[in-house]
Amino acid sequence: MKQHLNTLYVQTEGAWLRREGETVVVVIDGVERASLPVHKLDGVVCFGRVGLSAPLMGFCAERNVAVSFLSPNGRFLARVVGPQGGNVLLRRRQYRLADDPDGAAAVAAALIVGKTLNQRTVLRRALRDHGPSMTDEARMSVKAAERRLTDVARRLRATNALDSVRGLEGEAGRSYFAVFDRLLRVADPALRFRGRSRRPPLDPVNAVLSFLYAMLGHDCRSAIEVTGLDAAVGFLHRDRPGRPGLALDLMEELRAPLADRLALSMFNRRQLGPRDFDRSGTGAFTLMDDARRRVLVAWQERKREEIHHPFLGERTAIGLIPSLQAQLLSRCLRGDLDGYPPFVWK
């Protein structure tokens, strides 16, 4: 079993990273802050004005450490890739399946079944956790959404066309996000969720969701690349230059359990409040430095938690799930599995 490796996040303005022997050295204001052996890392994420020496970039590429550059708000800017690894035969299979409408629809449907069931689990967990603190009206609407998600998942199992998969995904997303606000236990009117908004996120909850999705996207993309698949060619997300279609596909089933649930807990535990956000003139909300740090720490800690993987029947660190799913996907492409088994969170 692969070990869950750590990701190094650097968000200090003007920080500089360089290579020394087999280690990544973090220098801030001319002071060496840490020297991290590369065998403990599988990714480096730089926010804003952070520099990496060219030898370090080469070294990371050689050691399969994914390096991404993000804007201070977590929007993806660039990444450093080494030689395309993995097996060309596997990638050919991927392309053939992506070009085959029935095959692509089957994988896409499996991904969205996973996504829908995981959204349902988020709702069910909230119903259980909130207990009597939820009003009857809220409980009824969350329960109704939960039933709609069950129904969508059932209908997805019977679909064989990409367009209907997309339609059902939209239906599930609408039911889920329509009641998402009910899952927030904080009474503060500044922390209301009024539907999903992105580019820009128009409220604090959306800002945290977008930020966590960017972190999850980084992990999914490197998991796919390490497995040797082509991150650009997806099944549900069709090809578009510069878009990592397969990484977005893989992300779908993991958004709710990994990101949404964490965002909800951080607000409900009052680890984040209205004062942690900056509002720009255009109405866009962004996380302030200190709050972003807290979100990253929570995200890293969440990835270390262990969870039971229902398909593999093993306990595994949450942070390994993207890699495990990418491996299951490649087994399904090779024909070792009859279909893609999505990660279903119980």
Partner: protein, 96 residues
């Protein structure tokens, strides 16, 4: 698994400074310096075999000493730190 490595190198004799430097460099590649001649290395068994070989290749058995303390997988419980320069937990959030 965690291995604590401490060493003493006779720096007085010719080549001593070189051995000291090279041993420290090998340890830096695999772990974290927690005190002047003490490193904590969280390594897989295969990596440990490589590191150990490298260390034993550098040192002079009749002049220097190397000590390996195997703390196993449950090492978090076995280390307690007081005072200055706490080590970074390489498994914890790495955020700078």
């Amino acid at each position: 698994m965690m291995v604590l490595v401490s060493y003493d190198v006779q720096t007085g004799d010719p080549g001593g400074a070189r051995r000291l430097r090279r041993i420290a460099r090998a340890l830096k590649d695999h772990g974290q310096r927690v005190q002047y001649s003490v490193f904590e290395c969280d390594v897989e068994p295969a990596q440990w075999a490589i590191l150990k070989q490298r260390l034993l290749g550098e040192f002079e058995p009749d002049k220097d000493s190397l000590r390996f303390y195997h703390l196993g997988g449950n090492w978090h419980r076995r280390i307690e730190h007081h005072g200055a320069k706490p080590a970074i937990d390489l498994d914890g959030p790495l955020l700078f």
